[in-house]
C-alpha cells in the first residue's frame, strides 16, 4: 500500500479537475461527494499507509513516480518521501482537511459558487500534500507556490467585494516576498550542493559545511524568509488578518490548520541546515517570541471574531517558531498538530456562530449565545481551553514541551521562557474575552438566532475535533527518527506550577472583566495611555501603515508617473490640451512618430557611446 502514496495528492487533484471541467453544472450533492469524498479517500489511504509505515519500523520510505524535466544536470522528479515528519503532516492535512471539507458541505450550502469552492479546496489539499510529501526542492516549491495560489483564489473567493480582492492580492504579494527569498535559497543550495533531493542535500550540507559556515547561514536565512512569509511571522505577518476575508472553512483549513504551518514544516524539514547556522536558528526563536507577543497584544483589542482567531494563530505559530528556534523540533511539530485540531475547531465553531447570526462577525454584537448555540458553545469552550493550554487538554502538552525546552536553553533561554509564559497569559485573556463576550452576558445581536445553524455534516466535524482537541495531547508521534533522540528537559515543580497557573490567571482576569464585571473595560480605557495602546495594537502595531508608506506608495507612485512612458505621456497630455487651446502651441510641439524616432536616435547615441568609450 505504501507504493500508492502518490494517490494521496492524486485524489483531490482528480476532484479538482472533475469540478473544474464540469464548471458548476453538477448538482450540489454530487459536488459535495466529489469535493469531500476525494479528501476522505486521501485520508483513508493516508491512514492505511501510516499504519503500515509504523508497523514496518522503517525510518523512511521513497517512491519514485516520474522525472519532470531535465534541464542540464537538473532533473527533478515527482518522487515522494515519507518519514515521521511528513507522516504527521499528511495525516493532519488529510484528516483535518476532510473534517473541514465535510463541514463546508453544510457551511457553503447556499453559496452559488459551491462547485468552484470545492474545486479550489481540493486543489489546495493536493498542493499541500505535494509540499509535504515531495522528496526534492522542486516539488516542495511547486506545492509551496500551489498553496499560495489557492490561498489567493480562496481569500478572494467572494470576489464581488473589492476589499476581498485587495486582501487576496495583499496576501499573494506579501508572501511572494518571502517566496522569492526562498527560491533564491533553494537555488543557492542546489548550486552549492549539486542535488535537489532534500535528504541528499542535507547530508551533503552536513558533510561539507561546518557549523557557522557562511553559505549555510545564507541558505538558512533565505529559507527563513520563505517561512516567515508563509507562516505570517514578523516582519511578513501583515497579510494574515486580511486573509480572513475568505469563507470561514478556508480560514480554518488554510489560514489556521495547514498552509500557514508550511513555514514551520520547511524549517523542521531542513533542520540540519539550521543546526549548521546557529545564529539563524536563534533568529527563528526571536522571531517566534516577538511575533507571539505582538500578536497576543493585538488580539486583545480586536472585535472581529475571525480576526481575533487570526491573531491567535499568528501567536501560536510564534510558539512553533520558538520551539524550532530552541531546537525542540518535535515539540514544534507536536504543537503544529494540536494547534491544527483546536484552531480548526475554533474557526469552524466561529463559522457556525457567524452563520447563525447572519454573517455578523463583531463580537460586541453577539452575546448570550450559550443556550442558543450549544454545539458552538462547547466547541468554543474546549477549543479555548486547549488554546490557553488548560491542563490535560492537547494544547497543554504541546505548549508545555515548548516552554520547558526554552527553559532548558543556555543563554537567552530564560527570556524565551518568560516571554512564552507571558504569551500564554495574554492567550488566556484574549481567548476568554472572546468566549465570555460571545456566549455570556446580554444578547446584543440584531437578529438573535433561533437555533444552531447546520446539520450533522457541520456538527459532526465539530464533535470529532472537540475530541481530538481534548485527547490530541496523548498522541505519540514518531519523530525521533527524523530529529534524533531529543534530550529531556526538566523544570522544578515550582516552575511547572507557575507555567500552569499563569494562563489560568489570564482566564481569571478575563472572567473578572467580562463575566463577573468586577472590573470595567470602560474605566480602563479612560486613560489616554490605554487608548493609545488600544489604537496602536488594534492597528496591528502600525505595520500596515508603515509598509504602505515605505513600500506600496512609492511603488504605485512610480508606476503612475511611468504609465504613459513618462515623456510620451507628458507630450500626449500637452498635445491634448493644446489642440483645444492654442493651435500655434500644437505646431511647436514635436509629434509622436518623431518622438519615437528621437528615442531610437537617443538609444543609438547612448549605446554607441557606452560601447565605444568603455
Amino acid at each position: 500500500m505504501q507504493e500508492f502514496i502518490w494517490l494521496l495528492p492524486t485524489y483531490p487533484l482528480l476532484g479538482f479537475l472533475a469540478l473544474v471541467l464540469t464548471s458548476g453544472r453538477l448538482p450540489k450533492n454530487i459536488v459535495a461527494i466529489i469535493g469531500a469524498g476525494s479528501v476522505g479517500l486521501s485520508f483513508l489511504t493516508a491512514a492505511i499507509i501510516a499504519a503500515q509505515f509504523l508497523a514496518s519500523g522503517e525510518d523512511y520510505f521513497v517512491k519514485e513516480v516520474w522525472t519532470w524535466m531535465a534541464v542540464g544536470d537538473f532533473t527533478p522528479g515527482f518522487n515522494f518521501y515519507l518519514d515521521g515528519l511528513s507522516l504527521v503532516m499528511m495525516l493532519v492535512i488529510t484528516g483535518v482537511g476532510f473534517l473541514i471539507h465535510m463541514y463546508a458541505t453544510g457551511y457553503m450550502a447556499d453559496d452559488p459558487s459551491y462547485s468552484r469552492f470545492f474545486s479550489y479546496m481540493n486543489l489546495f489539499v493536493a498542493a499541500m500534500l505535494m509540499l509535504v510529501l515531495g522528496d526534492n526542492l522542486v516539488l516542495l516549491y511547486l506545492g509551496w507556490e500551489g498553496v499560495g495560489l489557492c490561498s489567493y483564489l480562496l481569500i478572494g473567493f467572494w470576489y464581488t467585494n473589492p476589499d476581498n480582492g485587495y486582501a487576496a492580492r495583499k496576501a499573494f504579494v506579501v508572501t511572494r516576498v518571502g517566496d522569492t527569498a526562498m527560491a533564491l535559497g533553494l537555488f543557492l543550495l542546489f548550486a552549492e550542493l549539486g542535488t535537489l533531493n532534500i535528504q541528499d542535500m542535507l547530508h551533503a550540507a552536513e558533510l561539507e559545511w561546518e557549523v557557522g559556515n557562511g553559505l549555510a547561514v545564507a541558505a538558512a536565512l533565505l529559507l527563513l524568509g520563505g517561512a516567515v512569509g508563509k507562516s505570517a511571522q514578523l516582519p511578513l505577518q501583515t497579510w494574515l488578518p486580511d486573509a480572513m476575508a475568505g469563507p470561514t472553512p478556508i480560514s480554518a483549513l488554510i489560514h489556521a490548520a495547514t498552509m500557514v504551518t508550511a513555514g514551520v514544516y520547511l524549517i523542521a524539514r531542513t533542520h540540519i541546515l539550521f543546526e549548521l547556522a546557529p545564529s539563524v536558528q536563534m533568529l527563528v526563536a526571536w522571531i517566534g517570541l516577538i511575533t507571539l507577543l505582538l500578536a497576543g497584544f493585538i488580539a486583545l483589542t480586536q472585535s472581529d471574531i475571525k480576526r481575533i482567531l487570526a491573531f491567535s494563530t499568528m501567536s501560536q505559530i510564534g510558539y512553533m517558531f520558538l520551539a524550532l528556534g530552541v531546537g525542540a523540533w518535535s515539540a514544534g511539530i507536536f504543537h503544529l498538530m494540536t494547534h491544527a485540531f483546536f484552531k480548526a475547531l475554533l474557526f469552524l465553531a466561529s463559522g457556525s456562530v457567524i452563520l447563525s447570526l447572519h454573517h455578523e462577525q463583531d463580537i460586541f454584537k453577539m452575546g448570550a449565545l450559550r443556550k442558543k448555540l450549544p454545539v458552538s458553545f462547547f466547541s468554543f469552550l474546549i477549543g479555548s481551553l486547549a488554546l490557553t493550554a488548560f491542563p490535560f487538554t492537547s494544547g497543554y502538552f504541546s505548549k508545555d514541551e515548548i516552554l520547558i525546552a526554552a527553559h532548558g536553553l543556555e543563554g537567552p533561554g530564560m527570556i524565551f521562557f518568560f516571554g512564552g509564559v507571558l504569551g500564554a497569559f495574554l492567550t488566556g485573556i484574549y481567548t476568554f474575552r472572546l468566549f465570555f463576550i460571545v456566549f455570556f452576558g446580554e444578547s446584543k445581536a440584531a437578529h438573535p438566532p433561533e437555533k444552531e445553524y447546520g446539520g450533522w455534516n457541520m456538527n459532526g466535524p465539530l464533535i470529532l475535533l472537540m475530541i481530538l482537541s481534548l485527547v490530541g495531547g496523548f498522541f505519540a508521534i514518531p519523530l525521533d527518527a527524523v530529529f534524533g533522540q531529543h534530550e529531556e528537559h526538566h523544570v522544578s515543580t515550582l516552575m511547572h506550577g507557575f507555567m500552569i497557573a499563569v494562563p489560568l490567571i489570564g482566564i481569571g482576569i478575563s472572567a473578572a472583566f467580562f463575566y463577573f464585571k468586577i472590573w470595567s473595560v470602560e474605566k480602563l480605557m479612560a486613560s489616554s495611555l490605554a487608548q493609545t495602546l488600544h489604537k496602536f495594537w488594534h492597528s496591528g502595531w502600525g505595520f500596515d501603515w508603515l509598509y504602505d508608506r515605505v513600500f506600496v506608495f512609492p511603488f504605485l507612485w512610480l508606476a503612475r508617473i511611468n504609465k504613459a512612458d513618462l515623456v510620451d505621456g507628458f507630450y500626449a497630455l500637452i498635445v491634448e490640451i493644446s489642440r483645444a487651446a492654442n493651435s500655434m502651441i500644437v505646431k511647436t510641439q514635436t509629434g509622436y512618430i518623431r518622438w519615437y524616432a528621437l528615442s531610437i536616435a537617443a538609444g543609438v547615441v547612448v549605446l554607441i557611446t557606452v560601447g565605444v568609450m568603455l
Binding site: 500626449a572 498635445v575 510641439q589 509629434g591 509622436y592 518623431r594 528621437l598 536616435a601
Partner: protein, 102 residues
C-alpha cells in the same frame, strides 16, 4: 591610379546617414520623412559599395541591389499609406497620427 582611404568613404556614408536621421527627426511632412528614410538607406548602400571596394568584392554590390529592391518596395507601400492618410486627414502632417498613446 591613386587610392582613396576607406575611412573617407565610410565617413561620407556616415555623414549622409546622419543627415537622413536629422531629416526623419525634424520634418513633419511625411513625404519628407520618407525621403529622409531613403537618404538613410542610400547611405547604407554607399557604405556597402565602399566596403566592397575595400575588398574588391562583387558581394557588396549585390547587397546594394537588395537595398534598392527594398527601397522600391518600401516607397511603394509608404506612398500608398500617404495617399490613404491624405484622403482621411487632408494633410501630410505626421503629427495627426497620434491618436494612440499611453
Amino acid at each position: 591610379m591613386e587610392s582613396i582611404p576607406v575611412e573617407h568613404g565610410l565617413i561620407l556614408a556616415a555623414i549622409l546617414f546622419s543627415i537622413g536621421l536629422i531629416g526623419v527627426l525634424t520634418r513633419r511632412n511625411i513625404v519628407f520623412v520618407l525621403m529622409s528614410l531613403e537618404i538613410m538607406l542610400n547611405a547604407g548602400g554607399l557604405a556597402f559599395i565602399v566596403a566592397a571596394a575595400r575588398w574588391g568584392h562583387a558581394e557588396g554590390q549585390i547587397m546594394f541591389l537588395m537595398i534598392l529592391t527594398l527601397a522600391a518596395a518600401e516607397v511603394a507601400v509608404g506612398l500608398g499609406l500617404i495617399i490613404q492618410m491624405f484622403r482621411r486627414y487632408k494633410t501630410v502632417d505626421i503629427n495627426v497620427l497620434s491618436e494612440m498613446k499611453g
